[in-house]
Amino acid sequence: MSAGYYPEPGRRPTGSFPLHQRAAMSIFRPIGRWTAGFFAQIGSRVYFLVDIFRALAEVRTYVPLTITQMRKIGVDSLPLAGIVAAFIGAVTAFQTTYQLFPGIQYSIVGWITRQSIILELAPLLTALVLAGRVGARMTAEIGTMRVTEQIDALETLAYDPVAYLVVPRVIAGLTMMPLLTILAIAIGIVAGGITVVTATPVRMLDYTTGLRLTFIPFQVYYALIKATLFGLSISLTCSYEGYIAETGAEGVGRSTARAVVISSVFILLLDALTALFLAPKLAP
């Protein structure tokens, strides 16, 4: 059954060791296994990345598919991203208005709304929502193909499955996330403006003055950098998890869940890292 009873040739069975050595083994062996597994995960992902880079040479395979993926990932996600952005913008602006104490100028509403939406909310929430909508779908698609051995069939047909399945999704995620973020920023700011002008004493001029206050274009670039990283993280993580999905419907489900969790955590991690490295450059 286990390695203890049928040791590999040249290996000494664990049971033949003295007791104190066996105790030490029972402590260190799991640690060693976990560490090796951790590095194996990283290594496996690096191999996957190398496969992707190699597959980038096969332009004729992935370019036609990339357009379709762009539509599926980018255009089809616009309603969801737009709704999220509109509500975030409206709620941010509305709540900010009621946080103000008397005497403060109303233009601060526009300023706070712009800062939160451009710098944080639009990229982050769009990415998190897309991790659910696009990432889960990506993992499920590729995972099912893996489980039903369609990927093996592609290999048999001398197609590079990475170029055929993964590269279009990665390119689409990489390019569509920033575009969706731009639209999310625009929708959020407009929705916030409409909300405060119609529902609070803030006037349009206050809001637009606040929008322009201390604005530098780097803020938009910052959002786009974040969005690109998020898009990359979603598409890479999710296609990888699908690509290595284990057998059966349960394997696909587990892969999908893990893909969403890992990409969400990655997104938050990347968010913190970009803030750490790039936020000092935001000072006007």
Partner: protein
């Protein structure tokens, strides 16, 4: 299907890029409107930021484009002024507060710091009258683009106001302290309390007296009201009318008396001047003498008649 995807993705990318580029431009430089730079130099620590408004006489004409820290102790501020707006030649730039919590804007005063003159003699210069006079400031020359606007004297900042408030609160502290000493430590508050107590007693006494007085007063008023009710209003009316009539008659009488007096006056004057019979009679002593002589002669005649009636009276019966 594939062709359709391409079209959809193309439209999406194009629209998004347009939104991104124009949105950034709109936020960063208020759209595609053309502008030209102007410069100003302020002291350090004015809390100026990119994007703050530049107001000419209260109207936004541009925004702060760049704030450079000049090591010589200045902030070199680049302002972006909308094309079509001109800055008067003698304008001054001042950093002013926007709201109460430290937001700033640059205010350009078109006529410098000079307050509007109040000389009413020369309306060409003053005339800041709302009813159609000329404005007190009408610039004729303008600064060229890229010029530096001189800095004016700033309005009092929050810090200065706070310093003033601080000194005021110090003075207030002193006042409170001295009040405390005189009231609490020197027993003034006890005096005050006694005064208040005696005033209270006095007020109660006064209230009692006033209550009695008011009782008497209300009785008096009631009886007065009764008397007034008893008076017949029609009788009063007729009485008043009669009194009016009498007054009118009196007035007429006075008038006729006046005219009589006047005439009498005339007569008396005539008499005094010696005009007329009466005057002569009164004023001429000759008349009197003649009258006396006549009377004396009449007297002697009468005596003669008495003595010798026959000389004068001849009674012949047949």
């Amino acid at each position: 299907m594939k062709r359709r995807d391409e079209v959809i993705v193309g439209v999406f990318v194009t629209i998004t890029l347009i939104v991104g580029v124009f949105g950034t431009l709109w936020l960063a430089r208020r759209g595609l409107s053309k502008s030209y730079p102007m410069y100003a130099r302020f002291d350090w620590g004015n809390n100026l930021k990119v994007g703050q408004q530049v107001l000419l006489a209260g109207v936004q004409v541009g925004f702060v484009d760049q704030v450079e820290l000049n090591p010589a102790g200045y902030l070199d501020v680049t302002m972006s002024i909308d094309k079509g707006r001109q800055i008067p030649a003698n304008a001054t730039a001042v950093v002013q507060n926007e709201g109460f919590f430290g937001d700033k804007s640059i205010a350009l005063h078109p006529c410098g710091d000079a307050p509007p003159p109040v000389d009413r003699e020369s309306p060409a210069i003053t005339g800041a009258t709302p009813e159609g006079g000329e404005p007190h400031c009408h610039p004729t020359s303008f600064l060229p683009p890229g010029d530096t606007i001189p800095t004016g004297t700033p309005a009092p900042s929050i810090d200065m106001i706070l310093t003033r408030v601080d000194s005021m609160s110090g003075a207030l502290d002193d006042v409170v302290q001295s009040v405390r000493i005189s009231l609490v430590q020197k027993g003034g508050i006890d005096d005050l309390r006694q005064t208040i107590a005696s005033t209270n007693a006095l007020a109660q006494e006064l209230t009692r007296v006033a209550a009695e007085q008011s009782k008497g007063l209300s009785l008096t008023l009631a009886s007065l009201r009764r008397t007034a009710d008893a008076l017949d209003s029609t009788a009063i009316d007729s009485t008043v009318r009669n009194m009016q009539q009498t007054t009118e008659n009196l007035a007429a009488l006075t008038n006729s008396l006046k005219s009589t007096t006047t005439r009498l006056d005339n007569v008396m004057a005539k008499i005094e001047t010696g005009d007329g019979t009466m005057g002569r009679l009164i004023n001429d002593p000759g008349v009197y003498n003649e009258l006396r002589q006549s009377l004396a002669r009449l007297d002697s005649l009468i005596a003669d008649v008495k003595a010798n009636p026959k000389r004068y009276i001849n009674v012949k019966v047949f």
